[in-house]
């Protein structure tokens, strides 16, 4: 059976096509201002990649901030539910999932069957989300894709006083003026966002194994800061699928389960 999960994120719309417990195709496009258009585009892209026809997809489940806009979806599930299903599929040993997206951060505890036990969401403040790193990359005039690598070159830990993204921008600018090394500033940026998310995880409790998913989990500097905070290595999806697709994967798995598969 072939199913699809579409994750309509605030920044990117992602799709996973799932066939007989295998990921056969993924695609991602910018969400833009028309979520339905983005979803249509990402679906045809993924179908083309896999050499499939629209009619072969038996069930489509939407998730993410813009899921209500996708009229062609057969069903929808919350990001929390989708995250749990996706993370459990990739890492059956996982008990805590941390999902850091462009504009939201979520933490959830799951049981051995991947069922959600507890969760927390930050959707009010950019300081714990990808938007924070983006804003700092802009202030530093550094390509966001190189942020992770650069911060690993840092040898010095400097504190960031500001929590707010807007205030942190000014702080980064004054650090630049004080001739602080860019890599040290970038590490401070990653430490700051890691601290915010670590305290969110502490609120619901940490149980190993812990997985880190969402677009920000592509940033090796952020992973490093998180690993240091936790004192052990977090599980980050890599071989099977990139971390930003876990929610779409979960939706595709749920789409299959809903068909009795």
């Amino acid at each position: 059976m072939i199913t699809a999960g579409i994750d309509c994120g605030s920044k990117n719309t992602k799709i996973v096509i799932f066939k007989d417990d295998n990921i056969v195709s993924t695609a991602s496009v910018l969400s833009g201002f028309d979520q339905e258009e983005a979803a249509t585009e990402v679906l045809s892209k993924a179908l083309e990649n896999a050499g499939l026809e629209r009619g072969e997809i038996k069930n489509i489940v939407a998730t993410g901030a813009g899921m209500d806009a996708i009229s062609f979806a057969d069903d929808k599930v919350t990001t929390i539910t989708a995250n749990a299903a996706g993370a459990h599929f990739l890492f059956p040993s996982v008990r805590t999932v941390i999902d850091i997206g462009a504009e939201e951060g979520r933490v959830l505890r799951v049981d051995e069957n991947g069922k959600v036990k507890d969760f927390g969401i930050n959707e009010k403040c950019a300081a714990g989300a990808g938007a924070f790193i983006e804003a700092m990359a802009r202030a530093l005039e550094v390509d966001i894709a190189t942020m992770g690598e650069l911060s690993l070159k840092s040898t010095k830990q400097i504190p960031m006083n500001a929590q707010c993204t807007i205030f942190a921008e000014s702080e980064v600018v004054s650090l630049i003026h004080q001739k602080t090394l860019k890599e040290d500033i970038i590490r401070a940026v990653h430490d700051a966002i890691a601290d915010r998310n670590t305290s969110m995880v502490r609120q619901i409790g940490i149980e190993q194994d812990v997985a880190l998913i969402g677009g920000v989990a592509n940033n090796i500097g952020f992973i490093d800061s998180m690993n240091r905070n936790f004192g052990f290595d977090l599980l980050v999806p890599k071989e099977l699928i990139a971390p930003e697709y876990v929610s779409a994967l979960g939706a595709a798995i749920i789409a299959k389960e809903k068909m009795g598969g």
Partner: protein, 295 residues
């Protein structure tokens, strides 16, 4: 858009200085000064026997001591008065411990309450100080002494910095934001995001939907007003109520705070952005008197 236009600094509010022509400092008994080094702006106020003689208000630079020196230098410009003739200087604000020529540092909360008492009179019991990077709700007594306070200094929502971001985004000069936001016929729903970063994306969406700038500004001023009203209500308001700090000059925010509270804030006769420095200068005068008695 031309380069010149995109480079324009819409957030840059007007820096000011003033000398009171009716005062001759040479005839004064006690000359005191207060310097308020805020995260965004720095003010220096010089008082002769407890009356404002001259002041300056300018942008804070990258280091506090320089900002304090510059503000004091500019305040004294053309007056013939020099720093060594000022008997006592009190520093306040975020950079208060870095005012090189001050004898004491006093918190901006105490200074704003004292300054509001001076500007608006002894009936003031609640002061809302809306600064560049923080916002404080302060309760005080008839002498301007602080009774209790609440403060947000963690988040840009409800601060001047947040308004600067919007001025830049909409390319409306920060001095004109308030007036412009009142040009709407009907009040729109306030911007729903708290975070300034998200509010900015929300505003971009509204512009794309065809909202005119004044409507977007109205929605943001209302959101900001609501944010600080929450702080005030948590503290509890006792009348009379007054607003200090840079945002007190933004009629769009002030009017919406008044509407939400169903209370009028008195109109300032003196620039409300210098309230903290006024308070510091008044404390400096009292300390100078004490010093004379004991010395």
């Amino acid at each position: 858009m031309s380069n010149a236009e995109s480079d324009k600094e819409y957030w840059r509010w007007t820096e000011t200085r003033y000398t009171n022509p009716d005062i001759k400092w040479e005839e004064g008994t006690i000359i005191s000064a207060g310097v308020d080094v805020g995260s965004v702006s720095t003010q220096a106020v010089v008082m002769v026997d407890g009356e404002i003689y001259c002041y300056s208000s300018m942008r804070t630079g990258s280091n506090s001591p320089d900002s304090a020196n510059n503000a004091m230098e500019w305040a004294l410009e053309g007056t013939g008065l020099s720093l060594d003739k000022i008997e006592y200087v009190v520093g306040t604000g975020y950079g208060r411990v870095n005012v090189p020529f001050s004898k004491r540092a006093i918190t901006e909360i105490a200074c704003h309450a004292r300054g509001a008492n001076f500007i608006y009179g002894p009936e003031i019991r609640t002061v809302l100080d809306m600064g560049g990077q923080d916002c404080k709700a302060i309760r005080c007594d008839q002498r301007g002494k602080v009774v209790s306070f609440l403060m947000n200094d963690k988040c840009a929502a409800g601060t001047g910095r947040g308004m600067e971001v919007f001025a830049d985004l909409l390319q409306v000069h920060i001095n004109d934001v308030g007036e412009m936001s009142l040009q709407v016929k009907e009040e729109p729903e306030p911007v729903s995001s708290t975070c300034v970063v998200f509010a900015k994306s929300e505003a971009v969406g509204l512009l794309r939907e065809g909202w005119p700038k004044e409507k977007v500004l109205a929605a943001y001023c209302a959101a900001m007003a609501h944010r600080v009203v929450t702080l005030l209500l948590r503290l509890g308001i006792e009348e009379k109520f007054a607003i200090t700090g840079g945002i007190a000059k933004n009629i769009g925010v002030v009017k919406r705070i008044e509407d939400e509270l169903k209370l009028k804030a008195p109109e300032p006769s003196i620039d409300p952005q210098i309230a903290g420095a006024i308070g510091a200068a008044l404390f400096a005068k009292a300390l100078a008197e004490k010093q004379r008695k004991s010395g």
